[in-house]
């Protein structure tokens, strides 16, 4: 049995009257690549943001390697360094160069030396194919390049898992490929990944497990083969029919 990295129990989230997540139970094991699919507004991104504490869950508990993150004395800062996050809008630090984006966390949070941080940054920038651009500012890069730097920034913290929140949704069709390629490489390398995506083909190819969310609940959860060829839930069937027909 592999280690459980994240476990979510009875999680719900309300925005005012609006119940976005309803009693979610969900787990991610070490080395898994889990893709969360579903139509817009089904709560996929909110779930991800609750896990990374960018949103505070209304009720329920989140366990990191078996410890409730609300346990007194549990450092949420430390917890966040263990979970990388890649955003839809990249969110690179606009005032920093590519290298600066990748070394800031390691230097300030992990207290690495500048030299060490630089070495790590170059290693991961090389992985995403952006090592040639260390001097560039985010505004000088294309969306795909920015997103690859954002992935390198997350990798530089050497996290336990990386959460991807629709990493290709803000990209044009041409650059989506370059980002997905990097993510495929990472998946192969054994990194634990939790990906919210609309790229069905990608989800089918790389996931160890696919989660289908609908209206704030997990409607179905299965291997990609089962979900894409033989879905149990009629809602899943309907969703896939709509998205794959496009």
């Amino acid at each position: 049995m592999k280690d459980k990295v994240i476990e979510v129990n009875h999680l719900s989230k309300n925005f005012g009257e609006n119940e976005v997540l309803k009693d979610i139970h969900f787990e991610v094991y070490s080395g898994e690549v889990v893709c969360i699919i579903g139509s817009s507004g089904s709560g996929k991104s909110t779930l991800l943001r609750c896990i990374n504490l960018l949103e505070t869950a209304t009720t329920g508990e989140i366990l990191y390697r078996g410890t409730d993150i609300n346990t007194p004395g549990f450092s949420t800062t430390q917890y966040r360094t263990k979970l990388g996050m890649v955003f839809q809008q990249f969110n690179l630090f606009k005032n920093k160069t590519v290298l600066g984006n990748c070394t800031l966390g390691p230097i300030k949070v992990l207290k690495k030396s500048k030299e060490e941080a630089r070495k790590t940054a170059l290693k991961y920038l090389d992985v995403v194919g952006m090592a040639d651009y260390i001097e560039a500012k985010p505004a000088q890069l294309s969306g795909g390049q920015q997103q690859r730097v954002a992935i390198a920034r997350a990798l530089c913290m050497e996290p336990d898992a990386i959460l991807f929140d629709e990493p290709t949704s803000a990209l044009d069709p041409e650059t989506i490929g370059e980002v997905l390629k990097v993510m495929k490489e990472l998946a192969k390398s054994g990194l634990t990944m939790l990906i919210v995506t609309h790229e069905m083909e990608f989800a089918r190819d790389v996931s160890s497990r696919v989660v289908f969310m609908d209206n704030g609940i997990i409607a179905e959860e299965n291997t990609p083969e089962n979900i894409f060829t033989n879905p149990n839930n009629p809602r899943t069937r309907e969703f896939l029919k709509r998205t794959l027909d496009k």
Partner: protein
């Protein structure tokens, strides 16, 4: 028989005769404006950071109450100093502080304090606006790599805010060069005070104050140009080098965007 000296000759002679006084006044004005603007900006940055500290539902009640009280105090400070004229504040502070606190303020100390605290009130609102204008994603990205609010502010947000508020800061600086003139009411020997003394000597009010205006204009214009220059410097290089190889940095070529 010599004709009446022309207007320009009179002005020129006044300037030749009194230039050391004009110069002294100008120096005091500039020092007060620079020191006051800088201190005010620092006050504004600090208050801006405090006023945007986020509260989480998990935070202790103590922290929440403390922040609430701090916020109320800061709001009162800002409203009072933005809502009253600096000339009145000068009188109240200069004559009030010795009575209320038993501290004897020197004229220059009082002047520096008044300009700083006044600028601080305006700057803190400018800074707050600057912080609010920063994309929420910048904060989220910072906290997702585990940075604290303070670290985020210092390393990510403030550098962007300072760049954004630089024009407004320059504006405050220019305003301060002019507005320090009201400090003559407490007897600060700045440029207006010096002009008043000179004009009181020779009764050539028009000529003296025309020279004074020109000096103010030269000061404000130079400052504006200097700030433009600073803004361009802060923008940084708009070209970057692609290193063909990260180990052999000599194999590189440069990319330049179209704009100059």
């Amino acid at each position: 028989m010599s004709s009446e000296p022309s207007f320009f000759q009179i002005s020129y002679n006044i300037f030749l005769q009194y230039w050391p006084m004009f110069l002294k006044g100008t120096i005091v004005t500039l020092i007060l404006a620079i020191a006051g603007t800088l201190t005010g900006t620092v006050i504004g940055l600090l208050i801006g950071v405090v006023r945007t500290i986020p509260t989480h539902p998990h935070d202790s009640t103590f922290k929440k109450i403390l922040l609430k009280i701090l916020n109320i105090i800061l709001t009162i400070y800002i409203e009072v100093f933005r809502g009253t004229p600096m000339i009145v504040q000068s009188m109240v502070i200069f004559y009030g502080v010795p009575i209320l606190f038993g501290i004897k303020l020197g004229v220059f100390q009082a002047a520096y304090f008044i300009v700083s605290i006044n600028t601080g009130a305006y700057m803190s609102e400018i800074v707050r606006g600057g912080i609010l204008s920063i994309d929420k994603g910048q904060f989220e990205a910072s906290s997702s790599i585990g940075m604290s609010h303070f670290q985020t502010m210092v390393n990510v947000v403030m550098p962007q805010v300072i760049r954004n508020i630089l024009p407004a800061t320059g504006n405050e600086f220019v305003i301060n060069i002019k507005d320090t003139s009201v400090l003559n009411v407490i007897g600060v020997s700045e440029l207006f005070f010096a002009s008043k003394s000179i004009a009181g000597n020779n009764f050539k009010y028009f000529e003296v104050y025309l020279i004074t205006s020109i000096i103010y204009l030269i000061c404000t214009y130079s400052v504006t140009q200097l700030l433009r220059f600073a803004e361009r410097r802060i923008e940084g290089r708009d070209s970057y080098t692609i290193h063909g190889s990260t180990t052999l940095t000599d194999s590189k070529f440069e990319i330049r965007p179209g704009r100059s």
